[in-house]
Structures are given as C-alpha cells and as structure tokens.
Amino acid sequence: MQTPAPFGYERATSVDHAIQLLEQLGPEARLVAGGHSLLPMMKIRLAQPEHLIDINPLAAELGSISIDGDSLVIGAMTRHNDLLASPLVGEHFPILQDAERVIADPVVRNRGTVGGSLCQADPAEDLSAALSALHATATIRGSSGSRSVPVRELHVGPYETVVGDAEILTEIRVPIRNGCGSAYEKVERRVGDWAIASAAAVVWMDGGIITDAGVGLAAVGADHFVSPAAEAALRGQQPTEDVIVAAAAAAAAECNPSTDQRGPAEYKRHLAGELTARALRRAVARAQGGQ
C-alpha cells in the first residue's frame, strides 16, 4: 500500500491555535481536515509537507450551518454529508444538494469538508462552481484578522488559492435574496468520478424577469469556475428557451476545456453548453416555485 512520507503532527485546538501553528511551523506545514484530497497526494509523495496540522478538532467551531442576517453561513469544516442533509441548505440553495449528491461517494462525504474541497482547488471541483454561481464569499482568517473574498476570486489557478500560508478559510457566506432558483448538473464517467464537465446555474427572478444570474462551470477550464458571458446573457431577460439556449451557447464558447482521458475538448465544450441549459431550466423552474 502507498504510504505518506514522515511528517510532524500537530492538533489544533482552536482557529487561533491553528494560525499560530502555521506561523510557527512555516510554509512547509499544511492544514488537514477530511484529508481525502491531501492524503492521497501524500501517499504518492506528490505532497510531502513537513508538518500536518490536524484541524478536525475545530469541527465544532467551524462546522455549523446557520443563517446570519441575509446570508447562509457554512462553516469550513462542514462535512459534505452535513451540507447534503441540511434543511436550511435545501430550503435556500438546492443547487448545493444537487452538487453534494454527485461529489465522491457517501462514505467519502462523511469525512470531506467544504473548506477542504475549496482549498484543494481542483479544476473539476463541484462546490467551487456552485458557490461561484451563488456569488458566495469566503472568510479567510490570519493572525491580523479576517478578510472576505468572493469565491470567484478564491482560486488563482489549478490547485492554488489566495489563502495565505498562515491563513485558514473559516466559512462561506451565501447571500440570500428573494426569487432565487438554482440547480447543478454534472456528467461523470462513472458515479463518484470527478466531472467530465458540470454546470451550476442560479437565477434571481422578479416579476418574470431574471434580475441576476450565476453560471458556474467545473472541469472545462472556465476562468474562476464561472461564465460571465452566460450571466450577462441572462440578466434582464425573461427565461425563455431562446434565452437559455443563448446563455448556454455563451458558456460553451467562453470556457476553455482541454482533452484528457475523460474526453476530447470538443465534447466537453458541448457538455458545458448542454449542462448549462439543463441546469438553467431547472433553476428557473425552482425560482418559479417548482422543483
């Protein structure tokens, strides 16, 4: 069996303690939460951190889902299955449960965390697309305090985020606005696999008009997991099939998929459009009161 290289192990007892440990141990220290992205990388020795700081003890501090003012707040240590099971999430943002249902498998979802998935920044990661579409923000804490970054600006490239060496992602805030409908669509080679392509669609509607929209894409090389062109094609429009198809075409045109064993770029580009259209149809139906 593959085994990780040796490392020093620390257990953080609070967010402040975790930050203190990060500062003390330097850039070769890594936080580990669910570990389902990091530990496999360590086993094939692509990642060899000198220290691991286990933040699982922070599950109570960072693991809750709540409403704060006009935002849904998701703690970074929220396990995927807790997000999937949350009635609050289901009430406001069914897109997150659509996405969670197709992330890995139920047992992995018991360990994997929302924050861990976002910070791994895999280009095919589902929540990055869904939360970007929702215009969510990430709260990042360091020793000098907290800052707020739109999820759309969290990722600077594959496997890279703006979270600093001595910072920790603590929570995600999703603004709650009236008239919202959202949905997520994914095609995978097999259940539990990373996406060949996936699309996240969010519409906010008022009087039959889409007042604002979010279109997220994963695994197709979309900058920051979103398609601004598709969003622009939706804003101020009635959600007709023509509008949806035009937005989907914009998403397909804007993304930049690459060919790999999941499929050729041509196919992934097609999927970006097809799945955007499907997600938009469901999002609109949900905004209009259907499921």
Partner: protein, 797 residues
C-alpha cells in the same frame, strides 16, 4: 434446475446438488478470512519495488547507496545483483523471457527496477525515494498498429536475432475454402474493432511472503496464486531450487480473474530477498502496481469479415488480428495456442468455412494478455462474432434475434466440429435464445423502442449468444511449459465416515469448499458438512494446474467425482465382504450399498469406512482403508453457452449510457450449487458491463499508463448496473462424469457484446454501425457526431 429428490442432511444441507449456503462464509462474514497481507511471520521484513517512470529508456546507472544507508533497510536488490545469480530474467509461460529487475532497459511504464527490503512497509517506501536511476529516454512504441513499421524502435534488443517487434503469426481454419465462400457470397460485411486493454483488478492485489529456512533449505512461499502447483514447479525450474523443498501455500484469495496466474517479478525478488536476509520477506502490491504491471487482458485489434446470403444465411467468417502483447510475451495459455482459444471465433453458428490469422507484436506496455475471466481469449472471439453478426443484421435490415435464430447450430448437429477444429460437446442453442427473448419480452421491447424513437429518445436492445470452450484441457493438446493440464484429487474417508478431499485447484472466491463437498456428497452420500475441502498447500494437495479458464469444475470437479466413485467401488467390496455376498448382488442407494431385492441388508458409507479400518478380513489383494486418488485428464473441453439480452437508455445530449435491464440465460449443464452458479453469472455480467462502458488501460504518446489507479481504471459501482434477470437451460456434457460444463467466465465472455450491441442499436438513428469500447459518455457522443475515438491511446488535441 434443483433436483428436488436430493435428500437433506441433519444440518439442512443437500446431500448432493442443490442450493447450500457456503461453508467459507462462516469465516468471511466475521472478518476471519486469512489473506496474503494477513500473513505475518516472526522477524518478517517488507519489500517494495522501484518502478520505471518511463515506457522505454536505457538504464545508464543505478545508485542505491543512499537507500542502503537508510537505518531500516536490510538490502537493496537490483537487476545487476540478480544477474550474478542468473535470475535477472525469467522465462514466461509463452516461452519468452521477462526481466525480473531491469538490467539494460526499461520497457514499460511501471516496470520493476529495484527491490528494497526494510523493517516495515513505510520505511521500504521511504528508501525507494533514495534510489537514483539515470535513464536515457528512448522513443516508445505505444500503438500496436505502428509496431511493425520500418524504423520502429526495437523493444526486445535483448533477444538474439530480434530485429523488429514481431512475436508470432498464427492461423487456424482453411484460408482457401474461406476465400472461395467469400468469392461467391451475396453479402459481405467488414468491420474493424478493438477489444481494448483491460485489467482484472481483483479487490485484493497480488502478493507473497517468502520464507527461506537457511538451515533446512526449505522455501515456504505464501502466495495468493491461482496455480500453486504450477508455481512450485516453475520456481524449481527457474531458480534451480529442489522442488521437494518448495512449499507454496495459498491463503484465502481476494479475487483472481486471471490476474493471479502468472509469476511476477515481486515474487522472485521476495524469494531472493529472503535468501539474502535470511528472514521472511513480504511483498504486497499497491493498487497502482497491480494495474500498471501485472497481467492485463485483451488488447486485440480485430478486422472481421462475414459473408452471407441476402436472406441472412451466414456462409463464412474471417478475421485478421493484431495482438498487442506488451514488452514481454507473458501470456499464460496452453503452449500450442499463442492466441489462446481465439480460434473459437466462429461462435455458435453454422458456416461453410472460416479462417483467422493472429499476429502478436511487442509494444512498450506491461506484459500479460490472458486474464480477466477470458477463457483463454474466448472473450475476444465472442465479441468479434457477436458484434459482426449485428453488423450483418444492420446491413441486411434484419432483426438481430431473427438473424441469430436462423443461423444458430441446431441440437441435432451436436457433437459439432467447427471449421477451426473444435468439437462442441452438446447444446440446444435455439432453446436458450428463445428463453432469453421470452424473459425479455422482446417484441414489447422493440415496440417500446419504436415509440421512444418517435419522441427522440434513445433506447437500445442488444443480443449476444456465446459458446465457450472451457476446462483445459486434454493433455494430448494442452500443456503449459510442458505440464499437461490434468488435475489430481485425493479423497480420504476417515474411520468414522467423515471425509477430506484435497484439490489441486485453488479457490479465489468461487466457493470450492462448498461445491466440492457437494460433489463428494452427491457421489458418496456423505453429508457435505462432514466433508472438508483442502486446497492451497502444495505439500498437502495433489499436483494440478490450478484455477483459471473456468477449469475447476470441468477438470477438478471431474477428478472429485472419479475419486469418489473409486471410493464407492472399494466400499462395495468391503460391503460384500461384510454382508457375505457377491459384489454383483449389491446396488448403490445414495450413501449405502445394499443387497438387491433385500434393501434392509446393507451398509452405509460411514459403516463401511469403519469396516475398512477394522479387522474385517478383506479379499486377497484388497488393501484396507477407504482412501483413493485420481488424476483427471479431460477427453475434450466442455462447451457452456448462453443467450444474453441487454437494454440500455442513452442520453442524447450527453452520451451517457444506463443499463436498464440485463437478461442472461446460461446453460452450463447441471448446476451443483445453483446459488453459487448464479453468483458467478452476476459477477461476470458486471465485469462485462464494466468493459463495455468504462474499463480501459490507455496510454499517452509518451507511454504513460493512464489507468494506474482506481480513480482512472474505473470499475462499475452498484449504480451502473441493474439487478439481473437470469434463466437457465440444462444440456449436460456427454463426456464429463457429472455432465457439468463450468460457468466461471461465461458472463464475462458473453456480456460485453450484448452491451455494445445495445448501445449501437440505440444509436441507429445516427446511422452508426460500430463504436469501440469502452462506451464512455465521450465515446458515445463523439460517435453520434461521426467521430468515434481511438480508446486505447490518449486523445490528442
């Protein structure tokens, strides 16, 4: 078909054939199975293998000094070290050679380069990172179709006289007669198809614990091999170890499917490691090692042509195969047949003539070729014929069920000699196909499909009919490295009437402990709970070639029946002696010899066992006790067959395929334990669905293996498959003592074509005739665009 007349034992088990819960499950459900990684010996060390990151490269130097200096490392073995022992290369089962540890070049991504032995498995892996290998990277040959090009890099420059990448040409059938049939045929359909490289990928990887006793010189080798006796003999031949000083012990095996037939470099290194360190050495592959270096399956590029009349009478079939054998020709198959049993490609139909030609080539890929429940390449053969018959149906505009029914061999044609020389033992093919069509509700399915097509929905119905030849094999035709494919069996009846049967074959989960007890019970009337089945220890079981090619029941099962019958005959003499009558006066009633016409006068097998060990005076020349031995040399293969129907739905927008229904009618002769037989079929169907839809080992242009973990070598989960609808017909084999035919690989052999035929059927509105496996969403969608993909090589932009 359970025989309702079978009596039941005190424990509630059938004394003979019938559904019986498995004896082995008593330990398995409690977590008390004992697998290779559970073997822990005092003082045991752990081995790990450094593998090549390149597909083709010359080794300039290997520096192991830093690894050797690691405080927990006991030894580092390289090809150079093995070379001094004459063990850097080993013979393969196809009379080729294979590097144990590379000396001159590495020839595939993942090839074995060095072996580290350390105190624990973590330290062994740490030390791998301390080995410095300097490579000169060479151009690899990754496309079998380019392997014979002028100027192609020569992979096997280690072999004297090898000036290209050609391994063998082989043919079967009558080329001239086939050409004549084709010359006058009204319809000829040609189709190229790839059966891509796949992997058996059992849930437990391969491994061994080698324990060389430095005092006695005895090597005890714990190994999860499917062929313990064959391994012992080959180790003796290769390493010059005395065979009586080698004991191969198989613990419980976590699935084999052909993956655990060959001898792998890690085994040899572990043995050498134990000799060098004088301590036991364990080596167990990780999953990537398993997928990247051990026996792959398939990799056949096939060009088929079928000839027929306009009204659908099939006349002839020919096929030209390019077989990718990887860097070393290490296929495990009967010596005479470099393409395995591929020449059974004429399948289940009646022909005028047929011919096949197979050419094997080297590429910079892992060796192997016969694995993954393929019945020695019957899988490729069935896929070829069942796919091309569907192509013919498409050409003729005929329903594929009707075309098959028209051409299937008729029951009165058996025994039937095929154009390539097989003698099919028995069959009633139309009955099996009709049963499958009935279970499926075929006419209704076609109507549903038509309605859906009207609405733009894609639904497909695929049929395949297969005939396998299993139970290798008749010794006059079949051997591996000169070892004939017969199997021994020892049966001991203890004085109290309890029995132990010793097998040469090796369960990897098939339930031998139960099935073989039922065979003895069937023959002797001893309750199966009173019969212990022993396998997996060469010191304590008779010689035989092991379990693969669905051969356990056809060969070893026959040996078990024969040895039981020997006991029964000896018991008859003892009964006659005890009852003071002639043997001719006795008749057998299950579990008892009794006097004809006076059934109260008799002795049970248990009574006779005690008498056999007693002071009863036996006739001149009759020894005491009730033990017997047998070796079964099968007179022919057995030929199980079946009819499969798959129903799929395809998402036109994404190309995603969902298997909605799968109907499988199997005829494997009488079923010893119907529960176990059905389980074998279920498993094989999922293997077939996996190959058809997702499993593939592809490579990029640099030769990197793209299927090196379960993240990319995809096995079906419970979500991709339906519950199955099974049916059975029973046509006994006329030459097997129990009439049974074997079933271990039937579903793996028969199902892929049904799935592909179903998907291609669903895509009819797109004028599609073929698409290569695996039918991933990308492959299906690209096929719909008229741009079917090459699935064995990485896609290039």
């Amino acid at each position: 078909m359970t025989d309702t007349a079978v009596p039941t034992s005190a424990a509630g088990n059938p004394i003979g054939f019938g559904r019986m819960l498995r004896k082995e499950d008593v330990r398995f459900v409690r977590g008390k199975g004992h697998y290779i990684d559970d073997v822990n010996l005092p003082g045991m060390l752990h081995g790990a293998i450094l593998r090549s990151p390149h597909a083709h490269a010359r080794i300039i130097s290997i520096d192991t000094s830093a690894a050797e200096a690691h405080p927990k490392v006991h030894a580092v073995i390289t090809g150079a070290v093995l070379d001094t022992l004459g063990l850097a290369w080993m013979p393969t089962m196809s009379y080729d050679t294979q590097a144990v540890l590379a000396t001159d070049k590495v020839r595939f991504h993942g090839q074995e380069v060095a072996f580290v032995i350390a105190d624990d498995r973590y330290s062994a892996r740490d030390a791998l990172e301390l080995i410095d290998v300097d490579y000169e990277v060479l151009d690899p040959v990754m496309d079998a179709k380019r392997a014979l090009d002028d100027g192609a890099p020569i992979i096997r420059d280690d072999k004297d006289g090898q000036t290209d990448n050609h391994i063998f040409d082989w043919e079967a059938g009558d080329a001239a007669a086939t050409d004549a049939v084709f010359a006058s045929a009204e319809v000829i359909v040609k189709q190229e198809m790839l059966y891509p490289r796949s992997h058996p990928a059992p849930m437990e990887t391969c491994g061994t614990v080698a324990d060389m006793n430095p005092l006695s010189g005895k090597l005890t080798l714990y190994s999860n091999t499917q062929a313990p006796h064959a391994h012992r003999t080959v180790y003796a031949m290769v390493a010059g170890l005395p065979e009586h000083q080698i004991q191969v012990i198989c613990p419980d095996i976590g699935g084999g499917f052909g993956n655990k037939v060959p001898i792998y470099p890690g085994y040899v290194c572990s043995i050498v490691g134990s000799i060098v360190t004088k301590r036991p050495v364990k080596w167990v592959e990780d999953r990537s090692e398993n997928l990247m270096s051990t026996g792959f399956a398939r990799d056949y590029h096939m060009k088929g042509e079928i000839a027929a009349t306009k009204d659908g009478k099939i006349l002839g079939l020919k096929v030209d195969v390019l077989a990718d054998h990887g860097a070393f020709n290490a296929t495990a198959q009967p010596t005479k047949y470099p393409a395995g049993f591929f020449h059974i490609f004429t399948g289940s139909y009646d022909y005028g003539a047929a011919h096949c030609k197979v050419s094997g080539v080297y590429t910079n890929k892992a060796p192997g070729g016969v694995a993954y429940a393929c019945s020695f390449r019957v899988t490729e053969a069935v896929y070829l014929v069942e796919r091309i018959v569907d192509c013919l149906a498409d050409e003729l505009g005929m329903d594929p069920a009707e075309l098959r029914m028209k051409n299937l061999l008729r029951p009165e044609q058996f025994p039937y000699t095929t154009p390539t020389g097989w003698e099919y033992d028995s069959g009633d093919y139309p009955r099996a196909l009709q049963l499958a069509l009935d279970i499926a509700g075929y006419a209704d399915l076609r109507k549903e499909q038509a309605d859906k097509r009207e609405r733009g929905e894609l639904m497909g119905i695929g049929i395949s009919f297969f005939t396998e030849g299993v139970g290798a094999g008749p010794r006059k035709h079949m051997d591996i490295l000169g070892l004939g494919m017969a199997d021994g069996c020892d049966l001991r009846i203890h004085p109290t009437g309890k029995a132990q049967i010793r097998l040469s074959v090796q369960s990897q989960g098939q339930g031998h402990e139960t099935t073989f007890a039922q065979i003895v019970a069937h023959e002797l009337g001893i309750p199966p709970e009173d019969i212990q089945v022993i396998n997996g220890d060469t010191d304590n079981t008779p010689f035989g070639l092991g379990t693969y090619g669905s051969r356990s029941t056809p060969v070893s099962g026959a040996a078990a029946a024969v040895v039981s019958q020997r006991v029964r005959e000896k018991a008859k003499i003892i009964a006659a002696t005890a009852l003071e009558c002639s043997v001719d006066d006795l008749e057998w009633e299950l579990g008892r010899w009794q006097v004809k016409g006076d059934p109260d006068q008799g002795k049970t097998i248990q009574e006779l066992a005690l008498l056999a060990h007693s002071n009863l005076e036996l006739p001149e020349g009759v020894e005491g006790h009730l033990d017997a031995q047998a070796v079964y040399n099968p007179p022919n293969l057995t030929y199980p067959f079946g009819a499969y129907i798959c129903v799929v739905d395809v998402d036109p927008g994404t190309g995603h395929v969902q298997v909605r229904r799968f109907i499988a009618v199997d005829d494997c002769g009488p079923r010893i334990n119907p529960m176990i037989v059905e389980g074998q079929v279920h498993g094989g169907l999922v293997d077939g669905i996996g190959m058809a839809l997702m499993e593939v080992i592809a490579f990029d242009k640099d030769g990197t293996n793209l299927g090196g973990s379960y993240m990319d070598y995809l096995l079906p989960t419970p979500m991709e498959v339906p519950s199955f609808e099974l049916g059975e017909t029973v046509t006994p084999s006329p030459h097997h003592p129990l009439g049974v035919k074997g079933v271990g690989e039937s579903a793996t052999v028969g199902s892929p074509a049904a799935v592909v035929n179903a998907v291609v059927d669903a895509l009819k509105p797109y004028n599609i005739r073929h698409a290569d496996m695996p039918l991933t969403p990308a492959q299906v969608w690209m096929t719909m665009q008229g741009k079917t993909l090459r699935t064995d090589l990485a896609f290039e932009d």
